[in-house]
Symmetry: C2
Subunit: 411 residues, 2 copies
């Protein structure tokens, strides 16, 4: 908690800093990390499953053999060999790309920040799914964009709704800078854009001269089939693709990347240099060595098996414990289930009661820029062990039942 002190610098801040306020989610995470609470709130990958002995030995070898490089400044665009390996990773999903067009970033989050810096003037419009990733919404807000949400259903963003919005905004003479989308195993909704809709989305991008930022941190974590084909695989000039090793290797490395059209890539590198000079060579070379010397496809497979089991556990428990009127998505990959409460219930208002019942989730409101989302919540199965997931869902059902009793008593 912040103590309230007067801020002698208050009249010095930039206009954009007025909107920088602590997110409720951050405070929630602090409470949710207590051991007695089952946290279905976080999005932390289960890195405990990594072969720590092997990773440790790899890092030692890296320093002893290439320490003078690993411990030195690098370039703003990122290590050339790592960028080649990144192209190999993207090829798994059908993307053909040159290492020249890849910029290594401090997780995908930095790519979002740099792209916002390059593209967003105050008052510009950014389109995003409804709901959308909370970290992206925060970054767009920091650059004073207005986020306009586009409705989704179980098959992802609805093309007809996107078209209507684009037509309306064009009529209003608004400057739409880009559409931000997580088409595959979406955060927070857990849904995946269908193949026909992917084609429709690209046709709309062409028709309306729309730039798309495709954020794909979960693509390789596909439980039931081959990963869906990314938008970028079929369109290279209107799609900027963001990838990350946070979910397939280690979130502690903070190694992500942006694949962008040539001219945008040049701006990205300049923005990266201005923001951090260069990315850590140590973490870049660690990822590079991991990809070069480890059976990393097997590592991804073992993560897929681990998360699939947890997804199954969560869906089974939801089927078993949730009261009527509660609905949820059935993700085919990634980390998240999106749950909708029975009519009249409010996930944000219910959160303290849930914490008192030793279960945490993220209220839906954080994933909307327009103040909606009260009936929804994000629950994650990525980090807790299966038995804890089941326990957490059961506790959550108890809380919802309590709220339903209250509602029925007073209704």
């Amino acid at each position: 908690m912040e103590t309230t002190r007067s801020d002698s610098h208050l009249n010095r801040y930039a206009a954009r800093a007025q909107g920088m306020v602590a997110s409720e989610i951050r405070a929630l995470f602090a409470v949710a990390s207590r051991p007695e609470i089952v946290s279905l709130a976080g999005g932390m990958p289960f890195v405990n499953a990594l072969p720590l002995d092997a990773v440790g030995a790899m890092l030692q070898h890296l320093i002893v053999t290439k320490g003078a490089e690993a411990l030195q400044y690098g370039s703003a665009q990122g290590d050339p060999e790592l960028r080649e390996r990144i192209c190999d990773v993207m090829a798994l999903e059908g993307i053909t790309a040159s290492p020249e067009d890849v910029t290594v970033t401090v997780g995908s989050q930095q790519a979002l920040d740099l792209l916002s810096k390059i593209f967003i003037d105050p008052g510009d419009v950014v389109l995003a799914e409804s709901p959308s990733y909370v970290g992206a919404l925060g970054t767009f807000a920091a650059y004073q964009a207005e986020v306009v949400h586009i409705p989704m259903d179980g098959y992802g963003i609805i093309p007809e709704a996107l078209r209507e919005t684009l037509v309306r905004l064009r009529a209003e003479n608004r400057r739409v800078k880009f559409l931000y989308t997580v088409p595959t195993f979406q955060n927070p909704a857990g849904v995946t854009l269908s193949a026909p809709r992917r084609a429709e989305l690209l046709a709309l991008a062409e028709e309306f001269d729309l730039l798309i930022i495709e954020d794909n941190p979960y693509g390789l974590l596909s439980f039931d089939a081959a990963p869906p084909r990314p938008l970028r695989a079929d369109e290279s000039e209107r799609v900027i693709y963001l990838g990350s090793f946070s979910k397939t290797f280690s979130s502690g490395m903070r190694v992500g990347w942006a694949l962008a059209p040539h001219a945008v890539r040049a701006k990205l590198v300049l923005a990266a240099e201005s923001a951090i000079l260069s990315h850590s060579n140590l973490t870049q070379l660690a990822v590079r060595e991991f990809l070069a010397t480890h059976p990393w496809r097997d590592q991804v497979k073992s993560f897929v098996e681990l998360y699939r089991e947890r997804r199954d556990t969560m869906l089974t428990a939801l089927d078993e414990f949730m009261p009527e009127g509660t609905t949820w998505t059935r993700p085919a990959g990634g980390f998240f289930v999106w749950l909708t409460l029975p009519e009249g219930l409010d996930s944000k208002a219910m959160s303290p009661l849930a914490l008192a019942n030793r279960v945490a989730y993220v209220p839906g409101t954080g994933f909307y820029s327009d103040g909606t989302g009260h009936r929804h919540m994000r629950i994650s199965y990525c980090y807790p062990e299966p038995a804890r997931i089941r326990e957490g869902v059961q506790r959550l059902a108890t809380v919802i039942n309590q709220e339903l009793s209250l509602r029925n008593t007073f209704a």
Copy 2:
């Protein structure tokens, strides 16, 4: 080299992106890295002097014992234990601080970026020494600040000149957001603000309600005496202090920090979260373990001895080889000498001839926002071995002599 292609996204960029153009220095560095060239251009620390076996073993131990933490997301403010160790490092220079007021950043560069984001509206004034650090000037430009340079001499920034500028800007109703200064072993000039001037500077900050950003990456690399007392040691509310492990341990870690007044620190953490979510836990814990388990003060001492020898080599060679009319600073620490050419010579125009003579330096123009600096250059002694430094200075003197002959022939 960039190929010239048409940029189909040209009408999409934000106003701030128009000013993002590749720096000449970056192109120079690419050429200067050729093995036949003695580069006095770079600012790379000589990390080859680190005990690589020990660092490698430390990293292995870290992953095996704390891998689940090191490979996981961290907090936006940075690891709490590392922030405690950072306070120990600052205490060496006389700063008393709480870990609560420290934010870990991706090198000092990210601190400059985040502070610019928090404070700078387009058109705001930032004050900086004349010359000033090129990386800071680039960041201020990316946020559309106008940099006003304040003259320096061999004792650092001139307080009377600062006063005059503050009075003038106040009369012009300009919004001065902060003074950016590297008071100790300055980059690029190699000079150090004298103790009496430090007191005068703080008095002016009080009188004009001026915020100071004190960037101190080189403070501990003091060759001839104890490190000078930072401004922050005597004023905590008007000074934001930036530190870094890039020069005392490893630049490849990208671990720096900002020590800021409480309210500013809160904004910094929010800006950091929006920019990168969290810093790499791996590199943070690596630095933390290095500080906790290694004789790091001895490591700093051995760097001091190494750089002192190189500084001495450079100054001796300058005395021996440079023609009359050439002057230079005599740094008491840090990485850089600032050289002023004889009247009529232009360091930028001379640069291709120098490269042809297999020596590289940074022309002075990069360190000014106002288009001046043509008679100056930055030469560094941090990275080349002493024999190479001597060779490089000799080659540089040859080039200057050639230019002088030309000047005298045509004058």
